[in-house]
Amino acid sequence: MSDLAAYQRHVATALGTAEPTDLRGADVSRWSVQQWAAALLRNVCPLTGRLLVLRGRYGADVDAHLARGGRPSSLHAWGRAFLAGLALDPDRVVADVALLELAMTAPVAARPALPEPWVWDRDPWQVAAAIAQGHDPVELPHAELPVLVYREPGGRLATAFAG
């Protein structure tokens, strides 16, 4: 391995871990990577990012996403991976909002499969509006009837009362 290749792998290793390293400047560089990641992910995942901030867990979720490694250079692709991971979150509200945002923003080729049926106990558009206004959607009353979220044949997301 060349000296330059060895140096670059040393840098990648130092930035990819929280462990102490002998590389001067690694600590502030890790901090910078985290700060940029947090800012950029909120740009491409604004709805879910805001919800995670409201829940006080955004920084930890960004750290976890960084720790997965294998980051692509495309911010949008990295953001979709962030949402796809959160769509499996044990917190049902976080999982639903993340999948909803992914379903709304992903290009056709990257669209996720939706649960069938995908039933919400609150209107998803009211949930989105509440988050955008800085309110945790669990504060919203349940819908009178369960709400079904589905994709129309033309590709648009739609809702209907279940049953």
Binding site: D3, A12, G25, V28, S73, S74
Partner: protein, 290 residues
């Protein structure tokens, strides 16, 4: 070349400003006050990975006649395994849209073994990295048939060095035939972080090779001076610009760089005023601050 006549009848470098695709409300101010708009192709990428045509249309509408430069951040010219071909695809798309005066990139690496680092460390000033960058810079020039400027990166990460930064840059310019892009804030960061002696650098640099200069504002964190374009230009950077203007005889362009995300906090008016301040320095008749 974007040289404009000065009040004294000579030629002065043009004034440029960076553009990352948003906010759209900033564009009329930039178009009215800058001679050149520096477009960051990476920032125009849409969710599908292609250039977002809406952003190009906005630029066509608000600044149809303002000359452009393309300033990339995604090429990773110094990655040993390979540079980032995906950036070249992006560059091809914007080149097919509008012809720039020239294009430029950074002397850094953003990928290692195909994975994105999330930051851009500076290349070590070693003979090995110099040879790699000279070869790839020549390839870029041949591929696109236009001058390809490279900018030294400020990074807090320690790195090996066979050569001084100035010697590295001088050789790069001499061997590639492309001029240098000198970011004065980056130089200040490296000085403040203990990686560079300013006087030695200024004396050793071949100033005839400098074609473009960047100025920007940064931040301090935990004792480190970081190159984040979130602010207005510090007085120290303005003073350094004065020094550079006296020395850089082939300088065509001075660009004020500001992050899109910083615009709401700074305000459009402040950015416009900053451009006016920089422009005043570009006039030979204007005294340069000490």
């Amino acid at each position: 070349m974007p040289l404009a006549p000065s009040a004294g009848g000579g030629l002065r470098p043009a004034l440029g400003v960076s553009w990352e695709g948003r906010p759209a409300a900033l564009l009329p101010t930039l178009a009215a006050r800058a001679d050149v708009i520096e477009v960051v192709p990476d920032a125009l990428r849409g969710p599908d990975g292609e250039v977002n045509r809406t952003l190009l249309d906005e630029l066509d509408r608000e600044a149809p006649d303002v000359p452009l430069t393309y300033h990339g951040i995604g090429l990773s010219i110094g990655s040993v395994d390979a540079w980032n071909d995906d950036y070249l695809r992006l560059l091809d798309q914007v080149l097919a849209w509008r012809e720039p005066l020239w294009h430029s990139e950074h002397l850094g690496f953003t990928h290692v073994d195909g994975a994105f680092l999330g930051t851009m460390p500076a290349l070590p000033t070693t003979q090995e990295s110099l040879e790699l960058v000279i070869e790839r810079s020549r390839s870029m020039r041949e591929r696109y048939g236009r001058e390809f400027l490279l900018e030294h990166v400020a990074s807090p990460l320690d790195r090996p060095a066979d050569l001084t930064l100035a010697a590295y840059l001088n050789t790069l310019a001499a061997e590639t035939g492309s001029r240098l892009l000198l970011d004065l804030h980056n130089i200040e960061c490296d000085v403040d972080n203990g990686y560079l002696r300013l006087d030695e650098f200024l004396d050793e640099l071949d100033w005839t090779a400098v074609g473009e200069i960047h100025v920007a504002g940064g931040v301090w964190h935990d004792g480190w001076h970081l190159d984040v374009h979130t602010g207005l230009v510090a007085d120290s950077t303005m003073a350094l610009l004065g020094t550079a203007l006296e020395r850089a005889t082939n300088l065509d362009l001075v660009v004020y760089e500001v992050l899109a995300s910083a615009v709401p906090r700074l305000g459009v008016d402040a950015i416009g005023d900053q451009l006016d301040t920089v422009r005043a320095l570009l006039s030979p008749a204007t005294p340069v601050p000490a």
